[in-house]
């Protein structure tokens, strides 16, 4: 059986790892390489690393950092941040990264999704959509540039477009729930699952293993991504990296096994 993926998402800001709340107030949580080493030991399913400075500062991806992360990482790695051209994507893959994430650049220039897919294969192209719920509506707006700019486009429309243009995976990131640890937006997750037929990963809101389980119950085989859940411990949010064991992961997905 294909298993749901449980994916830590790490944010890089000023060369350190941070965790945000609502895409704001980045709190330093440690060194990126050290975190990768810990997730290696815990045998994490895969890892997403997003450089949240590169696009807003309009700089190139930090290839040296990416190479260091890729060399250390013994699980599949997805990198995002500052990628605007197929050449950059190709270079990042050549450093040993399995998947390349694009967000603002893909929304502003959707043709880029196809160009990158042609260069590195669609299985390695991840489109990240940062979304906020619309007032008095069931729809969600897609934002770019770390939630600073509202494109006023529906996440469902952009999800369909991204799939059509060659995305191999979608990451749907809730700005409203980022860092809240209140649980995923399951309505959003279910809506996206019904909209596209590529793998999806949901990010934003996970605060407990029960939240991961609820998402897996709702969507079946899905990527359950989280930041705070895997870097904080306790109500005072002490920094401590954690991740469910293989046995705990088996327990999380047993509801799926019974279904199938």
């Amino acid at each position: 059986m294909l298993r749901p993926r449980i994916t830590p998402c790490l944010l890089v800001h000023k060369a350190g790892l941070v965790k945000t709340v609502g895409f704001k107030v980045p709190k330093y949580v440690g060194d990126p390489i050290n975190a990768v080493k810990i997730f290696n030991e815990k045998e994490a399913d895969e890892l997403i690393v997003l450089d949240i400075d590169a696009t807003v500062n309009n700089v190139e991806p930090d290839y040296r950092m990416i190479a260091n992360l890729a060399a250390e990482c013994r699980m599949p790695l997805c990198y995002g941040g500052g990628i605007k051209t197929p050449e950059q994507a190709k270079r990042i893959v050549s450093l040993g990264v399995e998947k390349v994430a694009i967000s603002s650049a893909a929304v502003e220039n959707p043709g880029l999704i196809t160009q990158i897919a042609d260069e590195i294969g669609r299985q390695s192209v991840v489109v990240v959509l940062d979304v906020k719920k619309r007032m008095f509506s069931k729809d969600y707006d897609v934002f770019t540039k770390n939630a600073r700019y509202n494109t006023k486009r529906s996440v469902f429309d952009l999800a369909v477009e991204a799939e059509k243009l060659g995305a191999g995976e979608l990451v749907i990131n809730s700005i409203d729930l980022d860092g809240s640890m209140k649980g995923y937006d399951l309505t959003l997750a279910e809506g996206i699952r019904e909209t596209v037929s590529i793998p999806i990963t949901i990010l934003g809101g996970a605060g407990s293993l029960t939240d991961l389980e609820a998402l897996i119950r709702t969507c079946g085989v899905v990527g359950a991504a989280a930041g705070s859940l895997f870097v904080f411990k306790g109500i005072y949010k002490a920094v401590l990296i954690s991740y469910p064991t293989l046995v705990q992961r088996d327990e999380l997905i047993c509801s799926l096994r019974h279904k199938s």
Partner: protein, 204 residues
């Protein structure tokens, strides 16, 4: 020495890192001249079938690799697309494969039972082993690996199937034909499961 064929596809560095951790000697081969003292060959890969064949041709290493595998019976392990190009042909491309393991590479989309599932088939999947598959020694219980692909290998000869995984249908995720081995998943990114498989290959 284990030689990892660097023809521009796949994560060569990940294999080198993994073998180093296992305390096994491995090196990267970029040209035919690098292929000296070869005891094992790893053919990595990711992406499209024709692209992989073209890059292998352009690398200048194909004749030397073919000679080592076919004439000298050096064990070779193809990974992902590196496994698919061991086949005779692929529905994904027009170019012929290496033909070392008779079979055809097919799309999940072409099969009714898997056509509606999300593609690519991506993530960790459980693997059922055929008895006495030497690549999987020590992995008889609880074997799982990381997959990322939309096409699968269909063997002409059932005895060449070394393991199957399930995604709508049961598909061959590992092949073994004499000294030629292939796995659809990524052992280099599959933690201790993948490390054990690469160690088994090194010790064949």
């Amino acid at each position: 020495m284990i030689h990892i064929i660097d023809y521009g596809l796949g994560n060569v560095q990940a294999f080198l890192t993994m073998f180093k951790r296992l305390g096994l000697e491995a090196t990267r081969a970029r040209t035919a001249e690098d292929l000296v003292g070869v005891s094992k060959i790893i053919l990595p890969g990711v992406g499209a079938f024709d692209h992989a064949i073209q890059l292998l041709d352009q690398s200048g290493m194909r004749p030397a690799v073919e000679s080592l595998v076919v004439n000298d019976r050096v064990p070779v392990l193809g990974i992902c697309v590196g496994m698919q190009i061991l086949a005779t042909s692929s529905d994904e491309g027009r170019l012929p494969g290496l033909g070392w393991v008779p079979g055809r590479v097919r799309s999940f989309r072409s099969e009714e039972r898997s056509a509606s599932l999300p593609l690519p088939h991506m993530g960790w999947n459980d693997v059922q082993l055929k008895p006495d598959a030497p690549l999987f020694t020590g992995l008889e219980h609880d074997a799982r690996f990381y997959f990322l692909h939309s096409y699968f290998f269909e063997c002409d000869e059932p005895s060449h199937v070394a393991a199957v995984a399930s995604y709508g249908l049961d598909f061959n995720c590992a092949v073994a034909a004499g000294n030629v081995y292939g796995v659809q998943f990524h052992p280099e990114k599959s933690h201790h499961f993948g490390a054990q498989l690469l160690k088994n290959f090194a010790e064949l």
